[in-house]
Amino acid sequence: MDENLLEVKNLKKYFRTKHGTVHAVDDVSFTIKKGKTLGLVGESGCGKTTTGRAILRLTEPTSGQIIFNGRDICTLSKRELKKARRDMQLVFQDPYSSLDPRKTVSQIIAEPIKANKLIKGKEQIDERVNSLMQTVGLAPRLFNTYPHELDGGRRQRVGIARALAMEPHFIVCDEPVSALDVSIQAQILNLLKTLQAEMGLTFIFITHDLSVVNHFSDDIAVMYLGKIVEMAPSEELFSNPRHPYTQALLSAIPVPDLSAKRERIIIKGEIVSPIDPPDECRFYKRCSYACDACRKTPQLEEVCPGHFVACNRLEELGNLNTVK
């Protein structure tokens, strides 16, 4: 039970543009244990979505290894990849553009079954689609409806049913609830949690919403401009954030609780695109603790078991925080 299902080693994805090379994902490594959830958090443009896609090889990684169930995904041929993808699925962010508007709900859910010839015969496929719809909580009367007739929550359920159709062990959830209203968001989060418990699924949960990721994930990796700046078990990360960026991010969440008026760290400036980044901490320009020591790329260091931070001034800041 404790074995690693997925191991990502030194994953890099660079895009060439006319302005220079964008280091979208730059040397990212992490592991996920079977049945667990890793939350990938960060602001737009930090490379979290690209990481998710690269793991499924929807974008070809520039270099690195993605070891899934003991096999390196990056070296598979097209045919082997198709087979491997049965075990790795993706739930999309936008329930509006991720469903083909010309297909009915049943056609959408049946597609992966038909494409991989998992089940033969129309009746058997319909039966399977019906049971999948039941699993994700879609009423049978929606069988022949088109996506535009459904609201966001139901559409997202269709997307989840499609991902489940091949009985995968591993699902990348790319901001699956950020387009939904809170009450619907809670329904979908609960559904994903129940499915995980019942089917022993392993998730990568990509999001920008820290309160959601805290609720949902076992471990959290915070990304900034293509790099993981901090990675720790959820409780540890929230109670003891060490990287200045994580601290700012946590303090920026608006909390619907009047008793929790906290000191707010507002960081200056905005995230920029990582085009040909110099050898310095990526957070250097916005960090209020930046000094000359930050002018070299920091490495992830383990500060306590399972808690990794990439910051050059870690020790000094640690003292700083305790003094405060």
Partner: protein, 299 residues
């Protein structure tokens, strides 16, 4: 119990009727009166094209010459008059529908098969393949269509089949570009990626997901394309390069009537009107379809 029923009714659940795209388009199309008239005319034209051959005999009614009855004015007996060989112009115009329409439809089908598949490939794969296909199209469109038609007809001989092929090839770059433009926005949609994750191959994605979602502008192009193909065919026939004489193709009839235009105007007016009405109907229908298919223009 009664309360429970009420609750279900009150929960505001829409009734889920299966409303497909076609039904939606028809609902919008109906609101456009000129498009409805055009549709009616198109139906009549198609009907005439199919059934005229059962009412008239080609040898007896269409090509047989009655020299005694030549150049008669329109009358109750000969509605559109008779031509220089004494043939009934009305019968010939009606019978000719078959040729004009079939040239239009087959030519468009050829353009579609060539153009749409090239456009689909160009739009879906992009990169070098796209560049190659687009450049090829540009070169092809650089040649004037009539000239191209003339060249093909002289090379392969004069027959209705070659005419169809010539027109079809001449217009295919247009379909290629329309298709590519329609494919581009669809290609980047997430459901395309979703299909790839689901294990669907490139061909499956192209025909099951990309094409159906890029279809609207192609449908419009096809409708309008039939009109321009008919026009092109008539033009070539008028030049004497189209349908061989004595087939009653409208362009050929125009050409024959031209000599006598000063004295017997009706010889050119009626085939001309037939071309005009057919082309206009298809164009208006295309306009109506475009409005009905494009939800952004709804209001």
């Amino acid at each position: 119990m009664a309360r429970k029923n009420k609750k279900a009714a009150a929960s505001g659940q829409k009734e889920y009727k299966k409303r497909s795209l076609a039904a939606e388009v028809w609902r919008n199309y109906k609101k456009n009166p000129s498009a409805m008239i055009a549709l009616f005319l198109v139906i009549v034209i198609v009907f005439v094209a199919i059934f005229a051959q059962f009412f008239y005999d080609f040898k007896k009614d269409i090509v047989k010459q009655h020299v005694k009855e030549k150049f008669q004015k329109p009358s109750a007996e000969h509605w559109f008059g008779t031509d220089n060989y004494g043939r009934d112009v009305f019968t010939r115009v009606i019978y000719g529908t078959k040729y004009s329409l079939s040239v239009g439809v087959v030519a468009v089908a050829i353009s579609c098969i060539v153009g749409v598949s090239l456009g689909l490939i160009a739009g879906y794969y992009g990169g070098v393949i796209e560049d190659l296909i687009l450049r090829f199209c540009e070169v092809f469109t650089g040649i004037p269509s009539i000239l191209m038609g003339v060249a093909l007809m002289t090379a392969f001989g004069q027959s209705i089949g070659v005419l169809m092929l010539a027109i079809g090839l001449v217009y295919s770059p247009m379909y290629c570009r329309t298709t590519r433009a329609a494919v581009l926005p669809v290609r980047d949609q997430e459901y395309i990626e979703a299909a790839r994750v689901a294990g669907v191959g490139d061909l499956g994605i192209m025909f099951n997901h990309v094409l159906p979602n890029a279809l609207s502008p192609i449908i419009v192009q096809v409708t309008m394309g039939i009109a321009s193909a008919i026009l092109c065919a008539s033009g070539l026939s008028f030049l004497g390069l189209g349908v061989p004489i004595p087939m009653p193709e409208w362009g050929a009839m125009l050409s024959e009537g031209r000599e006598f235009m000063r004295d017997y105007m009706y010889l050119t007016i009626f085939p001309g009107l037939a071309i005009m009405i057919t082309v206009l109907s298809f164009n208006l229908m295309g306009d109506g379809l475009r409005d009905a298919l494009d939800p952004k223009l709804k209001q």
